[in-house]
Symmetry: C3
Subunit: 369 residues, 3 copies
């Protein structure tokens, strides 16, 4: 559950700060916590943005709810309403303010005495560095950045202003993390790309001499692995959001404001456009290009370049296991079934060929590719 704020917030103060129109309540009424409609109790502030949540709205215990005028009647009579056009965005802004108030004060001293900081590293003002963190030679940490306990910041790394590395993040030498980024615990930036040449049945290592360059306002979840480039850099554009346990291969380039859900794997040298959304556990093969504004379904594998914005999928549908076994067995016979169907059509049509074959190109993903 969200924690209560250290002080009561009046609805009047909320409206003064964030706008909206008060209905069914008094400006002096207060809230101290954010909550979902279903879990909200006295003193909580919730939001209602879609008609499908009417049932929860009708039973909510929230003291006040951010809501559109059109849905205001879905709430219990005694609930105060803050009427706004976009309750979710409004709530998000309120939540960011609440979250700031819930942040603990910076540690004192801001740089833990157990941190190991090379004398040649450059640490800007208002930086906090946690216990047992390591900052190596020549690294630069920008103003207001926060380096968590046990982080490793390698030689000549640059961490931008206001960026936060949560505990146990490792950034290998020469990599760059932009400003106002968040990197969650256990993520690794700059490990070697998977580059080997086969020589007489063995794998000879190709040194990975590039780095990783991460733009501004990027968020990276926990336990991600972002490999350094072989010769050039692996690049994550401004505003990208990566969930947890994501693999980014060497030389990958991701455009601005693209979001990747958990467990995605992107193979080496793939290029992903701007504003794409890649579903959880999806995969993207190496050396291909995905244009801007592409959406990929969860657990789909992109095996060819995609040159048209759009929504693409490739997932075996879930069935009860007995049905799946039959479908999977028949799938192996599918080319044979097609041949048999064509033969029947030919027999039915006489000598003139199967007219249905013209449907053959239907549903192809990108015939130009």
């Amino acid at each position: 559950m969200a924690r209560p704020l250290p002080r009561e917030i009046s609805l009047g103060e909320l409206i003064e700060r964030f706008g909206g129109e008060l209905a069914g309540g008094q400006p002096g009424q207060t809230v101290r916590r954010l909550a979902s409609l279903a879990a909200a109790r006295q003193g909580d502030l919730g939001f209602l943005s879609a008609a499908r949540h009417r049932a929860e709205a009708a039973g909510t215990g929230a003291s006040a709810v951010i809501v559109t005028p059109g849905l205001a009647d879905a709430l219990p009579a005694g609930t105060a309403r803050i009427l706004v056009p976009d309750p979710y965005a409004h709530f998000a802004a309120v939540a960011r303010w609440f979250a700031q108030m819930l942040e603990p004060p910076p540690p004192s001293p801001p740089i833990h005495p157990s941190a190991s900081i090379d004398p040649s590293a450059s640490i800007a003002a208002n930086v906090s560095i946690g216990a047992h963190a390591v900052i190596e030679a020549g690294a630069q940490v920008g103003e207001g950045a926060s380096i968590g306990a046990g982080c490793f910041v390698g030689r000549e790394v640059r961490v931008g202003a206001g960026t936060r590395l949560h505990p146990g993040v490792s950034v290998y030498h020469d990599c760059i993390v932009g400003a106002r980024c968040i990197v969650h615990a256990g993520s690794v930036i700059g490990s070697d790309g998977f580059g080997f040449a086969r020589e007489a049945g063995r794998w000879a290592k190709i040194p990975q001499l590039g780095a990783v360059v991460i733009g501004d306002e990027v968020e990276i979840g926990s336990n991600c692995s972002i490999d350094r480039g072989a010769l050039e850099d692996t690049v994550i554009g401004d505003g990208c959001k990566l969930d947890n346990l994501i693999q980014i291969g060497h030389n990958v380039v991701i455009g601005e404001h693209t979001a990747l859900a958990g467990c995605v794997g992107v193979a080496g040298s793939a290029r992903i456009g701007r504003r794409c959304m890649i579903g959880g556990s999806a995969g993207i093969l190496g050396h291909l290009e995905i244009c801007d504004d592409v959406v990929i379904s969860a657990m789909s594998l992109v095996t060819r370049s995609i040159r048209q914005p759009g929504f693409y999928s490739g997932v075996f549908p879930l069935m009860d296991n007995a049905g799946w076994e039959k479908a999977a067995a028949t799938l192996r016979q599918l080319p044979g079934l097609r041949t048999r169907l064509r033969r029947l059509e030919r027999d039915a049509a006489g000598v003139g060929g199967a007219p249905g074959e013209s449907a053959q190109q239907d549903n192809s993903i990108d015939p130009k590719d």
Copy 2:
């Protein structure tokens, strides 16, 4: 290989402790190590629970074997037998006892001097804390818990009695880990959920104000990521077992005694029932419900709620690559093939429509959903 125990254990002592009936051996005979039948040597104790292991049983070098009366004749003449009804469960109990004897004594001093422990943290009796671990303000560590080297235990975290965090585990502020849990190295509990609102082509962060609540007797493998809730908590029920590299999104609720194999991804706000088994690399989309006692095959994607206990699958079958290419190409044409088949049936049947179409609903996963 399992290590040998520090002392010999007689078969008589084993039977006194765990039960069973001795056959073909003397109570004074001793064993010092557990081993599989195939690898066992003089002094080793093995088990035989299924007829399909008869070949390994016949050639085993084990000094003694835990076995059902019905399979006892599968063993070499000179092997001592401990006859029990359920050899695997019996062996598991013996193994837990052996494992205890193999545990090293607690470190001395139990709290490593390099650990960084906030004075306001509450550390119960018999707790061990490894080198370079960090325990932040207000955290509570229960009796007999063990915090590994380099772990991070955030503000106000509660770690239950008898719980063991292996090295390098991070638990973010306000999260709760129950009693007698095991969390393996590198796992992260409480990183931010993946919550962003799209605003003018950019992603605005939704603060993640909830926490993670983990029940008692939960085991979490290495390098897992369990995100905190947005407003409410992410909840893992008592007795759940998670393998390695598992992603649990924000607000997920998992019922008691559910097991998830390695590399599973569960998207935000999904609810999984009790006693479910989720196969390796499977995925579960967000905001859906899976009822109790559901089994999901490896690498299957759950795209809709499941309301009936049962066994569900959705995996493209493995083929030689040439066969796969043909099947995959034909798959794109499948709707066209169906149309052509219907046309042939209609032509064959005259005007009256295709009777076969009634089979259309076969194999659907849950028509009610």
Copy 3:
């Protein structure tokens, strides 16, 4: 971008060291950096190994390029050429030499004073140990090995000569890492295998008493999880290469020189042969065997043993989402379609059965299995 070397390297020195024939340049010309043809500038050395890169070659700014005689004319007139039979292997060798020159000198002192090293551990000559690393009782670290900051090396672990553990690697007790290995940040070696017995609706833990044994010249990417065996050991053969975020279950045995791409999951007790290549995000079920020289496509699930070398796939092809929805819906009806096709054939052929059914076994993966 790759860093420039600390000194200029003449083409004459390069040819003296690595061979090749100089064309269109002077032995006294120098280079200081490696680069791709597309990004190369004055002072950079590139390579050209395939005709498909002719366009980049024609526009390259590289001072010198390693190239086959047959492709030498693809380069601009003023570019120096080093003619060799295999430019990629040649370049890889040069890159390894450049990488050595770019390595920083070993830290001084080589063993960081904040590392926590048990007095009973055995540390060979020329070992470096990073800040806050932990080496437990009885561990052995071989000559020239390098243990990164914050690594955990458990009781009785053996780390071979020349092996490098990057920051934050955890190796649990009794595990063995061979010589000249590289393990990237955050990887965990020796966490407990996923072994539980179901007892009355609960999971009882099976102690994991084996260990992990990793051969020589193995590279393991970042954030991998390699579980210890239940009774015997999990074994990774010499020369294997693992990418990032890979899960290896307990008792798995992987043969020499096999490569696994990112996000692969291998379930318990699987045995993989030598020189196999497993594509990214692929899965391998437990207790099965894959023979030598097998290639598995990305995101394919191996559900049965594979006894013939070859290339195997099982992936749902990517489609635009509307096409996918139709194909997925029809897939559920596939067994019904087959029945209807057979009926049509029977009707067309008269009483004598459907001749097309003989195609039924086509495309099966391994009929002997």
